[in-house]
């Protein structure tokens, strides 16, 4: 064993980080070598000294509030405010590339995305906006018999409003929104700490469309058509639980 290696092993030994085999081997060597024995004792003393006397600087009491107050205000994910300065040139380059890619890909291939993939961005933007502007609901009520007539009286259709609290999806309220070129109903559900916007409006083609899902900028988006209505659900909730909500809404709509 080289002196350098012995020194490393002794350090790991005093730190309790050696495996059993290496430990036994090293202990045997320490017994045979007074120099190693002395080094071991000296290391133990030093470790003890540093652990007991080494200072742990106390954070100032205002640190937490200062740090958390400096976090960017609620804003859509992907904007550049939270990006450190040295990232900005890269971010601008990336967003220019993204725009170019978008123009290149979306415009000619809109149909390929499947029926109704168009308003995805709009749906996500509406979701983010609802959380940003402190305007989550126009009517805050967990009572579907209050929310449904309120929405129906303001829209040209009667959106299905379900009480799914027993399944963990608590109804928070309803809101009017404007999507896909028309006024729509936004139903707000809460699942644990996650807010889910479910946008509902009459579907253009009166046919059943099974569930489609997308992940977009950290959000999960899901849509399906049922009973003449298009349902769009968007949240930061995981895809599985969002799918569960879709199943419940589909079942209720039938």
């Amino acid at each position: 064993m080289t002196p350098e290696n012995a020194r490393r092993l002794l350090n790991a030994y005093v730190d309790g980080e050696l495996d059993a085999a290496s430990m036994m081997e090293l202990e045997a060597q320490i017994r045979e070598s007074p120099a190693l024995q002395q080094e071991f004792e000296s290391l133990s003393v030093l470790q003890n000294l540093v652990q007991s006397r080494g200072r742990r600087f106390d954070a100032p009491s205002h640190l937490a509030s200062r740090v958390f107050a400096a976090l960017p205000e609620a804003q859509p994910v992907g904007t550049s405010k939270a990006v450190p300065g040295w990232w900005r040139p890269l971010a601008i380059g990336t967003s220019m590339a993204a725009v170019a890619l978008l123009l290149w890909s979306i415009v000619p291939t809109l149909d390929r995305l499947g029926p109704g993939a168009g308003p995805r961005e709009e749906v996500l933007a509406a979701h983010v906006r609802s959380l940003m502007a402190d305007h989550l609901t126009d009517l805050t009520s967990a009572e579907r018999h209050t929310v449904k007539p309120w929405l129906s009286s303001r829209l040209d259709f009667a959106p299905p409003v379900e009480d799914l609290a027993s399944e963990g999806f608590a109804l928070v309220g309803g809101r009017l929104d404007y999507l896909d070129g028309r006024p729509v109903a936004a139903l707000v559900y809460r699942y644990r700490q996650h807010i889910i916007n479910v946008f509902v409006w009459p579907s253009s083609k009166n046919q059943e469309v099974s569930v489609q899902t997308w992940a977009l900028r950290g959000y999960n988006i899901l849509r399906f058509d049922s009973r003449g209505m298009s349902f769009w659900a968007v949240s930061d909730l995981n895809p599985e639980d969002l799918q569960k909500l879709a199943n419940l809404l589909q079942r209720a709509a039938k």
């Binding site: 290391l43 030093l46 006397r53 954070a59 400096a70 976090l71 983010v128």
Partner: protein, 184 residues
């Protein structure tokens, strides 16, 4: 979502702010810079929080703080990062620097064991100082340290061994009356 991201971020990070500050304080050598570095690190952490998966929030937080510290050191104290000879560092020592007065209180303080230990830790270069702080003061395992400094466990072992030799030398030097760096 965004509010809940903030809430999740705060609850993940809060328990480790004390460790974050201690590491930053040891690496930057002063209160004010430590605070600034922690704040900048937490802004970075928030930006990358969506990518954080895993149970070990402490290592994740310390890793970002540590990287932010080293970026800061490269700009503000480049010699602290690369220098390995204690003698080159004397002008960086916070204790030596601040100890220019010879009032009895300061002199008494210098003599305390705790002071000498702190001075010895402060005297070694940042690369070795960080592993000592993480190990002896924050109590991280080798594996956790390896994660924080993004290096193999073998490197953690070597750096700890080296750090302890240097601290021991610094302590011996401080106790040698013929070579008291702190007295003027």
């Amino acid at each position: 979502m965004l509010e809940s991201k903030r809430a999740r971020f705060e609850s993940s990070v809060s328990p480790h702010l004390a460790a974050a500050y201690n590491l930053a304080r040891w690496l930057t050598h002063n209160d004010h810079d430590a605070e600034d570095v922690v704040q900048e690190a937490m802004l970075r952490a928030f930006t990358f929080f969506d990518g954080f998966r895993g149970p070990d929030a402490r290592s994740w937080v310390l890793k970002i703080v540590r990287n932010t510290c080293f970026t800061w050191l490269h700009v503000n104290r480049p010699r602290d990062v690369i220098a390995t000879d204690i003698d080159q560092l004397s002008d960086l020592l916070p204790f030596a620097c601040s100890g220019s007065t010879d009032d009895p209180e300061t002199v008494a303080l210098r003599k305390t064991e705790a002071y000498q230990v702190d001075e010895a830790i402060a005297s070694i270069s940042a690369t070795f100082r960080e592993v000592i702080v993480l190990r002896e003061i924050e109590g991280l395992s080798y594996k956790e340290i390896a994660n924080v400094i993004d290096a193999p466990i073998g490197t953690v072992m070597s750096r700890l061994a080296r750090a302890r030799s240097e601290i021991r030398r610094a302590l011996a030097r401080a106790n040698d009356p013929g070579n008291r760096r702190g007295t003027r």
